[in-house]
Symmetry: C2
Subunit: 408 residues, 2 copies
Amino acid sequence: MMDAKNYVLEMARRSRAAALSLVRLSTSEKNAALLAVADSIVRARERIIAANADDVSEAKANGLKDAMVDRLTLTDARFQAMVDGVRHVATLPDPVGEQIWERNRPSGITIRRVRVPLGVIAVVFESRPNVFVDTAALCLKTGNAVILRGGHEALRTNVALADAVRSGLTAAGVPTDAVQLVGITDHSAVTELVRAVGLVDVAIPRGGERLIRAMCEAALVPVLKHYKGVCHIYVDGAADLDMALKIVDNAKVQRPGVCNAAECLLIDRGVADEFLPRVERWAAERGVTLHVEGREEIDWEREFLALEMNVGFVDGVADAVRHINGFGSHHSDAIVSSDEARAADFLRDVDSACVYHNASTRFTDGSEFGMGAEIGISTDKLHARGPMGLEELTTYKYKITGDGTVRQ
Amino acid sequence: MMDAKNYVLEMARRSRAAALSLVRLSTSEKNAALLAVADSIVRARERIIAANADDVSEAKANGLKDAMVDRLTLTDARFQAMVDGVRHVATLPDPVGEQIWERNRPSGITIRRVRVPLGVIAVVFESRPNVFVDTAALCLKTGNAVILRGGHEALRTNVALADAVRSGLTAAGVPTDAVQLVGITDHSAVTELVRAVGLVDVAIPRGGERLIRAMCEAALVPVLKHYKGVCHIYVDGAADLDMALKIVDNAKVQRPGVCNAAECLLIDRGVADEFLPRVERWAAERGVTLHVEGREEIDWEREFLALEMNVGFVDGVADAVRHINGFGSHHSDAIVSSDEARAADFLRDVDSACVYHNASTRFTDGSEFGMGAEIGISTDKLHARGPMGLEELTTYKYKITGDGTVRQ
């Protein structure tokens, strides 16, 4: 048997070859392939569901937590959503080939900056099987070859999904190796993937903080990531407090388990006496546990992902900015204020991907941003920041034309 | 004495604080600071030249190669070019604050995508002292704080330059720590810089391949880099051979020591009998040593940076593409052909930052591209590809405004 390194490198070489073919596909060829993939998944439905049932019963037998088992389970609704997702990606605009700008230079050359696929993308994910299909669709649409590595507890499901996706590709005349699943559970496979300089262009972890940190530590290829979402709502002294409470409620309660939910409420000391009691009544009504500064020791960097929230007190915008830049995760942070100048300062000075004025942090999302789909949210500053859609799965190249033009 | 880690982290914390002030500066304040920096360098001229003379004599005493000593030497012309460079950066457009797009979403939020500084940039360079001043100017213009680490042989010169630049900043009322020089020669300082996640946003090596590989191996922060320039000229079967020779001459001879000079000539076998003898006559006239396939063992990945060139033979565009993607450095590659369809295939399939049709690879350069200035050329695919000017020293953030808007 091949060792993990040779297995991964061999796979990456096939991806690289596939990438060269993908770059030649027209938008309509890629869309046709997406529809063929959706059809193929539908045809393989029974086999996929059966494989998933096996994974689920093994997970239960191994004592996996209920939340994990739930994430792993492919219900009818989830299966349908997965198929619909692939078909939806076929309807989205294709960023590849888009000309970003064109310049005619005095030297006589014409420079066109054009969007092109990134090449080979490695995606490492955990237990949700839909991630396999979503990611494959987004990469196919953008002409990228993708190598996927899922959690070992979902291996049977992922193998069945990979078979279906690859059959669809073959049926559409697209290189089957455009989508590959790492079929070995050896942990060193991930390490080899993120060290395959020249074969893998970028790695995208879609999972928890531990996975991401391990990948970054090992990586030689760029990693596009999102550690966590410690999002803040700062209620300014000049805030409409009704509005503030409405935004806090939406940001904390509407979907507490996601990265754009708020984890920390910062209140300007000038309105704390008036606002804190209202927040406490709201928390009691909504079942939100508050950790209030001065009453207990607070871990300001905590991402609860639950009906729990830190509450701190600050002296105005500058103090709020200091807190957020120091303890936040550079994801999404909001100010509630009727003072336009203070809001402008906050939006300028908070060093986060998405900064909000009088709106909920819950809007940080590819579809809310009009991207149509999302492969993740980046808390990095390079390449892509915030929600990453199809455009963020491309890079550009310069195409330069002359007429025997040489440099003087 | 502090150890290297604490020294670097303390420095990075000061940069982070400076970055927050820099983000608040208007374009005219930054331009005024650039002019103050230029004036300050002129005032410190004697001290800088004296420090450089000390570095140069020590370098000679230590037996440094002539080419290295030349690079280190700050001549009158280089001093003036350095000062002019800073003043030129003040005249360039400021990308910071530019709105990339604005969207009004059905939810009621308005999203503006706006260019912002990257934050804290670490630049590691080798012996040319002008890199210190050029880099400081580009970073200041884009509102980034910069930490510079130069070669130990140029330490006295860099200390004198840093003093002058920082005095200029202070005079202009800009935080002095916007520009910092690593004053210790301990090699682990570089390692600590590229591992300072959360304090350093990006590292840019400006030096040889060994330096870059060492930095990438250690790095936890993103590294924007350019390993080498193994640029190709492919002379197609449908090429105008006079034009081909003119382009080969320019790409190889005009300035052989730079990364966008051509290192490899690929000739379509269909025209090899006719073209090779012309190339050989040209090489003899121009003093270029040719390494011709079939006559000797050839290292196709070699970057000569000298009047030396590999010559290979291929069967058409697809074969040329295979060679270039396999052995090249993804920098700049050209096709000479009168066949538009073949040229289009080449430009689409060659996986390089800059792909040329009937023009010399020597145009890959920030000023030739109309960027006004350049901090380097990226052979990476993420964030920035090809020449990197001021815009490439920025990222973006999303500023979202609502009116108490919450997610449904």
